[in-house]
């Protein structure tokens, strides 16, 4: 398989037209056919199976509640798997194992940041969210505030986060297919976009959740097998694995220790990852798919377990890749980057987990893992699209434009149309952002979720004094400052816009933008002496009782 992927990747990377790609494939016809079939058959089995589920789900999806939240009938265990599935995106699986492969220990630091937000979400917000919300997190944020401004803000925050997250997933999909099937980057991105739209428009949240659950189970199974095989090669001695890796890696013993990082950047990244999780709209939405607060709690418990286990696996997989791939010349290629020749893993470090699958399990397992990685992208983008679509249909259309008087059928129709529009936008953004590092794009989404959505959501539930004016001004300041500082920071100003030095020195603006959001939300709320502000504060007591006891909360719909 190595020779054909090498040919294909080299062709794809140099950006030659599709004709040259076909010619390259022709030369290595026999081997190519054999490998392709495994991956393609397994991938199409997944697609066929999930389409079957989508058909089943479409027959059960009638009301808006069915469409947005699967009627609230998902159990805590199922939801835990689905949340874990949303989290175990291709960007996490490929990106974090790549980070471990490149930098060793720093990859573990990153994954810990992704995990530790979960317990805090459980302790402070999960039950309140379930008791107050119906379909979107804006339901909670606008509970006692004015609908139009707060929902407009929440929908904006949702769409920006969804767009960034979608870019990361689309780029991952394109790269993966480029390597595996020999399809062009653009056709892969288009395929993902179309399948995503089909899952969501036909099957709603029920299909989206089940696609996510199935994928989570096979991804955990596949990654467990890889980690097991890696450990088996070293007689199940982590010490032996680390020794071998250190001996091979260009950075030597540095991979066992944290790399040099700016303290402010590290703390800022920690804040973004932790509070970003509590502001991701597609994750928050999952809390409304369970029947009550008890199931919401259980989902976080299971999710934390699965996610933690998964990150331990990716760490082992990253080290396994160092140990088993770096010394194999057939896994490496030489490319020209910025005028210099660089030897790298075929397809780049993001492909570490994929190549490792081949090394430990042969072509059949490579096909399996590739199909799983692709399935992962499909499942995650479906959740993202649904969340973006509900922000438009439920928050903007039904609440802002129709002032809460929208007919349910129309609302669902708007949601489906939005899904199609999002599909097109996702494809375009995927094509535009081809060369960006995918793990980093997810980091951007987290910064914005932490700075815009989280402060408003948190204060709406915890602080009686929050007013509409405070929430909207503070929220937008968080959003604008996060986006602005990222654009002026090294990741965009230098890497994308090619300026000499960044206007803002840190990669992660969260520490500044979260603080700004909280300070302004507080300040504007305190200064707000309007009549509506008084009313909003007075409504807090009733909100608090409901958030604590669940009296009056939306229940599961019966079928």
């Amino acid at each position: 398989m190595k020779s054909w992927t090498k040919t294909l990747c080299a062709t794809a990377l140099t950006g030659l037209p599709a004709l040259a790609l076909a010619a390259g494939a022709f030369e290595g016809e026999v081997t190519k056919q054999a490998t392709n079939w495994h991956a393609i058959i397994m991938f199409f089995l997944f697609v066929a199976f999930t389409m079957g589920i989508t058909y089943w789900a479409s027959r059960r999806t009638r009301s808006a509640s069915d469409f947005y939240t699967a009627g609230g009938g998902i159990t805590g265990f199922q939801n835990g798997l689905a949340i874990a599935g949303d989290y175990m995106s291709a960007a996490s699986f490929l990106g974090i194992s790549a980070m471990v492969f490149d930098k060793g220990y720093d990859g573990l630091i990153y994954s810990i940041g992704f995990l530790v937000g979960w317990p805090v979400i459980l302790f402070l917000v999960a039950e309140r969210l379930r008791n107050l919300g119906k379909f979107t997190f804006a339901d909670v944020a606008s509970y006692r505030l004015q609908q139009t401004p707060v929902r407009t803000f929440a929908a904006t925050g949702t769409l920006v986060v969804v767009a960034l997250y979608l870019i990361a997933q689309m780029v991952g999909a394109g790269k993966l297919i480029q390597l595996l099937f020999g399809m062009s980057y653009s056709s892969a991105v288009i395929l993902v976009g179309i399948l995503m739209v089909m899952y969501v428009t036909f099957g709603g949240m029920l299909a989206t959740t089940w696609v996510q659950i199935i994928k989570a189970v096979i991804l955990l199974g596949g990654a467990s097998f890889m980690a097991f095989m890696v450990l088996a090669t070293v007689g199940f001695s982590p010490e032996m694995m680390f020794q071998k890796a250190v001996a091979i890696h260009a950075k030597g013993a540095e991979i066992m220790a944290p790399g040099k990082a700016d303290p402010i950047d590290s703390i800022s990244l920690g804040l973004a990852l932790m509070f970003g999780t509590a502001g991701l709209p597609h994750i928050l939405m999952r809390f409304f798919t369970v029947s009550d607060a008890k199931e919401a709690r259980k989902s976080v418990f299971y999710a934390t377990g699965f996610i933690g286990y998964f990150y331990i696996l990716t760490f082992i997989i990253g080290f396994g890749a160092i140990m088993l791939l770096l010394e194999q010349p057939s896994m490496m290629e030489t490319v020209v980057k910025n005028g210099k020749e660089v030897t790298q893993l075929i397809g780049g470090s993001n492909m570490a987990a994929i190549h490792l699958a081949n090394a430990v399990g042969g072509d059949l397992f490579l096909g399996f893992i590739s199909a799983v990685a692709f399935a992962t992208i499909l499942a995650v983008v479906a959740g993202l699209a649904l969340s973006g679509a509900s922000a438009v249909s439920h928050d903007l259309y039904a609440s802002v434009i129709k002032k809460g008087k929208a007919n349910e059928a129309d609302e669902i129709r708007v949601s489906k149309i939005t899904t199609v529009v999002l599909g097109v936008i996702a494809i375009l953004l995927g094509l535009l952002f081809e060369k960006q590092n995918i793990a980093f794009m997810v980091g951007l989404a987290f910064s914005i979720a932490a700075s815009a959505n989280f402060p408003v959501l948190f204060l709406s539930m915890f602080w009686k004094g929050l007013t509409t004016r405070g929430a909207v001004v503070g929220g937008f300041i968080g959003l604008i400052s996060a986006v602005g500082l990222i654009v002026m920071g090294p990741a965009v100003w230098v890497d994308v816009l090619k300026h000499e030095t960044a206007l803002f020195p840190y990669k992660n603006p969260a520490i500044f933008s979260i603080t700004l959001a909280f300070v302004f939300t507080w300040l504007i709320s305190v200064l707000d002496k309007s009549k509506s502000a008084v009313e909003e504060k007075a409504k807090f007591e009733a909100q608090f009782v409901r958030s604590m006891t669940g009296i009056g909360a939306a229940g599961a719909s019966k079928h």
Binding site: I112, V116, L124, R546
Partner: protein, 102 residues
């Protein structure tokens, strides 16, 4: 929620007990998790050598078990909360809901 139910719940001593217990446990565990994580981040930022030091003379560094410990602690802490909430808090909550209906 109508005013009657609201005042009934608010004046119920069990409601005060629930709010007090649940909020306290929630904040205690959150602070513990934050302390563990930001303690780790601060060590990373200001004394990275501590984590890069060899554990018992081998290649494995102190940072590896520390990292695994944080992952496991996240899971254990959620387990503690869920257990407490599913038994004690839910029972109390059930009583409050029953009382409010009368």
């Amino acid at each position: 929620m109508n005013e009657d139910i609201l005042t009934r719940v608010q004046s119920n001593p069990k409601f005060k007990e629930l709010v007090h217990k649940r909020t306290r446990l929630g904040w205690q565990l959150s602070i513990l998790m934050l302390a563990i994580y930001y303690g780790f981040i601060l060590v990373l930022a200001f004394a990275p050598n501590v984590l890069g030091a060899s554990l018992s003379g081998g290649t494995t560094t102190v940072g590896i078990p520390v990292g695994i410990f944080i992952i496991i602690s996240a899971f254990v802490l959620t387990g503690i909360y869920v257990r407490k909430a599913n038994t004690e808090f839910d029972q109390l909550n059930q009583q409050i809901v029953e009382d409010a209906k009368q």
